[in-house]
């Protein structure tokens, strides 16, 4: 790679530094700390969904279901099998990864388009939701499970919860940055533009899609499990499509698909909007819907690409790590060096 790794890592480090400073400002208020932590949860989901939908065209409308798999499994393993909480979280992550990978494999094998993947995963989401409601012995149905004492105690330590989530998010951003700085990034760009051409030029499309789905699902499962711990309580509705998938979709569109920082910026803006409309109760759903329509119609690019083009060449490190912009950066870097 001709782009030096320090410059590649710069935006990730910058985001980590800014977000690490947040508790200094709001650390005194448990309520604001909670919002900040939930923002990180949403950002992690959005990073995963960006990889799924943005880069590999897999409209996984089962982010909430995968998260609930991680959450419920980690809690039940500790409660019923007396597993160590870290091992339970690990197993839950693996289970989510396997599920996501399997769904992706089946979809790719059957040649499903975006629409079919969306329908299948939505149906899977609803099945999972109904199972969680129905398997009362295991999940307590609608009442949910109080997770206090069944995890790593993130619920009692808001600061610890925040930094654990931040670490997970920064790690996922770093992995994303690394992925798109490597040759795999070029392959992913090729297949997101045209899968047939990508396959013809020797890229194993199936393997890439399944690997991305498994990786993203692992992240979702892990964060779902951590969420179960820090929230102190889980029920089918906290992982429902309307509570997870729709916010994730809106946040990603708001921030900007196929960008490094889009999911994070989108999650932050979404949390802000969500706080503003919260007093109006049911209107939040209305706001999500209007936001989704307006964004997709008028602002499909998202905030990050718009800001990037506005900043232009001044801050090249902010640019998306796409192969095309990377190439442009090389050219720009060359001319700069020439001067």
């Amino acid at each position: 790679m001709s782009v030096p790794w320090t410059r590649q890592a710069a935006p990730v480090v910058a985001v980590a530094a800014v977000l690490a400073a947040v508790p200094l400002g709001v650390g005194d208020s448990p309520y604001q700390m909670r919002i900040a932590t939930l923002m990180l949860v949403l950002a992690c989901y959005a990073v995963a969904f960006n990889l799924l939908f943005g880069h590999t065209n897999q409209l996984f409308l089962c982010v909430g279901a995968l998260a609930s798999l991680g959450g419920y499994l980690s809690v039940i393993l500790v409660r019923d099998l007396k597993l160590a909480s870290l091992a339970a979280v690990g197993l839950a992550t693996v289970a989510a990864a396997a599920t996501g990978g399997f769904l992706s494999y089946v979809s790719v094998r059957r040649g499903f388009g975006v629409l079919f993947v969306g329908i299948v995963t939505l149906a899977v989401s609803l099945i999972v939701h109904n199972l969680l409601l129905g398997l009362r012995d295991l999940t307590n149905g609608e009442t949910g499970i109080v997770t206090r004492g069944l995890g790593m105690g993130l619920g009692d330590h808001p600061l610890k919860a925040y930094y654990v989530l931040l670490a997970v998010m920064v790690a996922s951003l770093a992995a994303y940055r690394w992925l798109f700085g490597s040759r795999h990034g070029a392959a992913l760009h090729a297949l997101s533009e045209d899968e047939v051409s990508a396959e013809l030029s020797g890229i194993d499309v199936t393997r890439y899609k399944v690997a991305c789905a498994a990786g993203a699902s692992a992240l979702v499962g892990l964060v779902g499990a951590l969420y179960a711990d820090l929230n102190g309580f889980i029920s089918p509705s906290v992982y429902a499509v309307g509570h997870v998938d729709i916010p994730v979709l809106v946040a990603l569109l708001l921030g900007g698909m196929r960008t490094l920082l889009g999911p994070v910026v989108g999650a932050a803006l979404f949390s802000l909007v969500d706080e503003l409309v919260r007093p109006f109760g049911q209107l939040t759903v209305l706001a999500y819907g209007v936001l989704l329509v307006a964004l997709f119609l008028l602002f499909r690019q998202g905030v990050v690409p718009v800001v990037q083009s506005a900043l232009g060449r001044r801050v090249p490190a902010l640019r998306a790590p796409s192969s095309r912009t990377a190439a442009k950066e090389e050219v720009a870097g060359g001319t700069e060096a020439g001067r």
């Binding site: 975006v114 199972l131 939040t284 209305l286 329509v293």
Partner: protein, 284 residues
């Protein structure tokens, strides 16, 4: 026997919902995820008219027309940008737009009319037909659905516009080349799908009640049937509806509603896995 009749009538209800979705999908290349909310809009209008002491028949008609108008508005406004694209891109854009619309409508209904519900009571709860006791609601809903489908069939087979619509389903570009006004036919189709959904909402009102939060349930039921239909023709969807209606009635009679939902969803997923070329596949 009662279960079979219930299943048949439920199947007709499902058909009313899903034929609209399939129709719009086949003709416009758009999967309307706000379909259930259109039905709820019709039901709520009917309920509000009834509250205002309007004649029940007129209220029902008003609700049905209102559902059609909501679908029509959706077509004339939000879906226009989608129609300008083709194939997969159109599908995706419309999918997200209608998903957003469905949330917006859901939020609006539950916020503005949380306590409005459509519940139509008939004079006699049950009647004796050929030796068995039947719920009057079943008979009325069955008759209403059959009459609606009869009218739809007459429209499709008997009128020029109906023929044009069937042409477009077969080949949009070809129909356009033959001078068919594709845009107008699409709008008419959206309106019809709304009307069918409105009738389904009335049926739900006869059976039990229709609340402002039932949109997603309707949409998902319509999607399941559309997926399981797995055939090109409306007849296929119709048969799938009747089949699923019977299965649904039988399962909820013997097993319980919670497992019924899972079974229906599982059937849909299984159909997609085994026969992905199913109903939804005939749009390229």
């Amino acid at each position: 026997m009662g279960v079979v009749l219930d299943g048949l009538v439920l199947g007709l209800q499902l058909a009313l919902l899903s034929v609209g979705v399939v129709f719009v999908y086949g003709l416009g290349g758009v999967l309307n995820l706000a379909h259930g909310q259109v039905a709820v809009a019709g039901g709520l209008v009917a309920a509000l008219l009834l509250q205002a002491r309007v004649n029940p028949v007129l209220s029902g008609l008003g609700g049905v027309v209102a559902a059609g108008v909501v679908a029509l508005l959706l077509d004339r406004t939000l879906l226009q940008p989608a129609y300008r694209r083709r194939g997969e891109e159109r599908l995706l854009l419309a999918l997200i737009l209608t998903l957003g619309t469905s949330f917006a409508l859901d939020g609006f209904f539950t916020f503005r009319y949380p306590n409005v519900a459509l519940s139509l009571r008939l004079a006699a709860p049950s009647v004796e037909v050929g030796g068995i006791t039947v719920r009057t609601a079943s008979l009325v809903v069955g008759g209403l659905s059959l009459a609606t489908f009869g009218l739809l069939l007459v429209f499709l087979k008997g009128t020029r516009l109906g023929k044009a619509i069937r042409c477009i389903i077969q080949n949009e570009a070809g129909a356009w080349l033959c001078g068919v006004d594709v845009d107008r036919a699409r709008t008419v189709t959206l309106f019809l799908s709304g009307v069918l959904a409105g009738v389904a909402a009335l049926g739900q009102g006869f059976f039990s009640y229709l609340g402002p939060d039932m949109g997603p349930e309707f949409t998902i039921l319509a999607l399941i049937v559309a997926v399981v239909g797995g055939v090109r023709s409306l007849t296929g969807t119709f048969l799938a509806s009747l089949l699923l209606g019977m299965v649904n009635a039988a399962l909820s009679y013997w097993v319980g509603t919670y497992l019924t939902w899972i079974a229906l969803l599982a059937v849909a997923v299984a159909t997609l896995l085994v026969r992905p070329e199913g109903l939804l596949a005939y749009w390229p």
